[in-house]
């Protein structure tokens, strides 16, 4: 419990830092800049600036959950697992913890955004037309990313899983930029899907037709999360606790 409080505090600080970062840049963003992501096409300096702002929170949640699975399996977690009911219920407790971390992160980002905007009374450059969907896709995307990290940790060291997951996230944003008309690539590199700039939730209609209907995106992310969860369950039942 104390551990989770520390994590929540760190995530809140990250949300504050992220908002301060958005305040300092002079780039276009909506009322809820953490949902915006990286616009495309955009020149390289802008790409890096937008990417930094979006990526801070993804990296923070990924880092907080570094070793969440694998370190537990090789160390202190054995004492916990042996007292638990089954490997499945142990994994579910870990997944629930991941959801808690993501919810705390997003809640902190919302609080920070509303707090600063109330103080500054600033007008957003662009509107965000689908706030609820924006938050939903954002949460699902982070969960899908963390689910990749979870399944990788069941096969390799936590540090390697962390690096591979984050490389995939960064690559997926930068590599897709040249292929904006290819819908399938937005799904293969799914971190793009949560970005309001890219999926049309921002009042920027240029890409709306490329990505398709919003509910399809949500369903696609749910399927990814469930698929990775099923793989993790299969793996945890066979893994040896050496």
């Amino acid at each position: 419990m104390i551990h989770f409080r520390n994590e929540a505090f760190i995530l809140f600080i990250v949300a504050l830092i992220q908002y301060v970062y958005f305040m300092n840049d002079r780039l276009a963003h909506s009322s809820f800049p953490f949902l915006d992501g990286v616009p495309t096409p955009v020149n390289y300096p802008h790409l890096v600036t937008y990417l930094m702002g979006w990526y801070i929170s993804i990296a923070a949640s990924s880092f907080i959950l570094l070793g969440h699975i694998s370190d537990s399996l090789v160390d202190y977690g054995k004492y916990i697992i042996l007292r638990g009911k089954s490997r499945f219920s142990w994994l579910m407790s870990k997944v629930i913890h991941m959801w808690r971390v993501v919810m705390v992160l997003v809640f902190s980002q919302l609080i920070a955004t509303i707090f600063f905007q109330t103080i500054l009374d600033s007008d957003p450059v662009l509107e965000l037309t689908h706030l609820f969907e924006g938050i939903l896709f954002y949460v699902l995307t982070i969960m899908a990313i963390l689910s990749i990290q979870m399944i990788l940790e069941l096969y390799m060291k936590s540090q390697l899983a962390f690096i591979l997951t984050n490389c995939y996230v960064l690559l997926s944003i930068t590599i897709v930029e040249g292929f904006v008309q290819k819908k399938v690539l937005f799904h293969v590199f799914f971190p793009n899907l949560s970005m309001s700039f890219r999926n049309g939730m921002m009042a920027n209609p240029t890409l709306q037709e490329t990505i398709g209907q919003l509910h399809e995106l949500g369903l696609f992310l749910v399927v990814i999360i469930l698929f990775l969860l099923c793989l993790s369950v299969i793996r945890i039942k066979k893994i040896e606790l050496m």
Partner: protein, 207 residues
């Protein structure tokens, strides 16, 4: 009762356990003696359900591990000098573990701490414990829930002579309670006096 039947375990190309068959009765203490790398710890891991046998089975009270149950339902274990949470004191550590199964009361926790003579250190954090104190706390976490099966890997490591006597007395009391205790050690002199049976293991085989 623990029944190990024709148990083999292969890690890559090495057979670390080979065709082990043995029955461990309730209320007895077994000494598992062998050199480093002989397969003692691997056998304890197999009985605890931490590894999946390549061949054979482990049955706990007629329930087959990895088929009927994932882990023995009531087990205390010390393995590989795993450390408890260094930022907490002994009582808090045991309270955290007790919250999982909810079978041990605060009295059980305090009694275990007292039996291992850790009560004198009060709220001292585990990070400040000596090796011997950490090992005693590990023993406390293995016994405080009064498990039916107690598996101890080198339990007397880093503990002084007086401490070893105390640990052996505790294990005798646990046997009286009805627990099945298996002690893996390369130092048979320490545990020999209390063992009902001593099993030799070499190259993954019982001899």
């Amino acid at each position: 009762m623990i029944e190990v039947h024709d148990l083999s375990k292969k890690l890559k190309k090495n057979k670390v356990l080979q065709n082990i068959t043995y029955t461990f009765e309730k209320g007895r203490i077994y000494g598992l003696v062998g050199k480093n790398g002989s397969g003692k710890t691997m056998l304890l891991r197999a009985i605890a359900g931490l590894i999946i046998p390549t061949e054979g089975s482990v049955t706990i009270n007629e329930k087959v591990l990895h088929k009927d149950i994932s882990f023995p339902p009531s087990i205390g274990i010390i393995i590989e000098n795993l450390q408890l949470l260094p930022q907490f004191d002994a009582e808090t550590n045991l309270k955290i573990l007790a919250a999982i199964k909810k079978t041990a009361s605060l009295e059980d926790i305090q009694h275990a701490i007292m039996r291992l003579a850790l009560d004198q250190f009060g709220t001292l954090k585990v990070r400040k414990y000596s090796l011997g104190m950490k090992q005693r706390l590990n023993i406390a976490q293995a016994i405080f829930e009064k498990p039916d099966i107690i598996l101890l890997d080198e339990p007397t490591n880093a503990i002084d002579e007086k401490g070893v006597e105390r640990v052996l007395d505790i294990l005798k009391e646990e046997r009286e309670r009805g627990a099945t205790i298996i002690i893996a050690t390369h130092n048979k002199d320490d545990v020999f006096p209390i063992c009902d049976e001593v099993i030799q293991i070499s190259n993954g085989r019982l001899i």
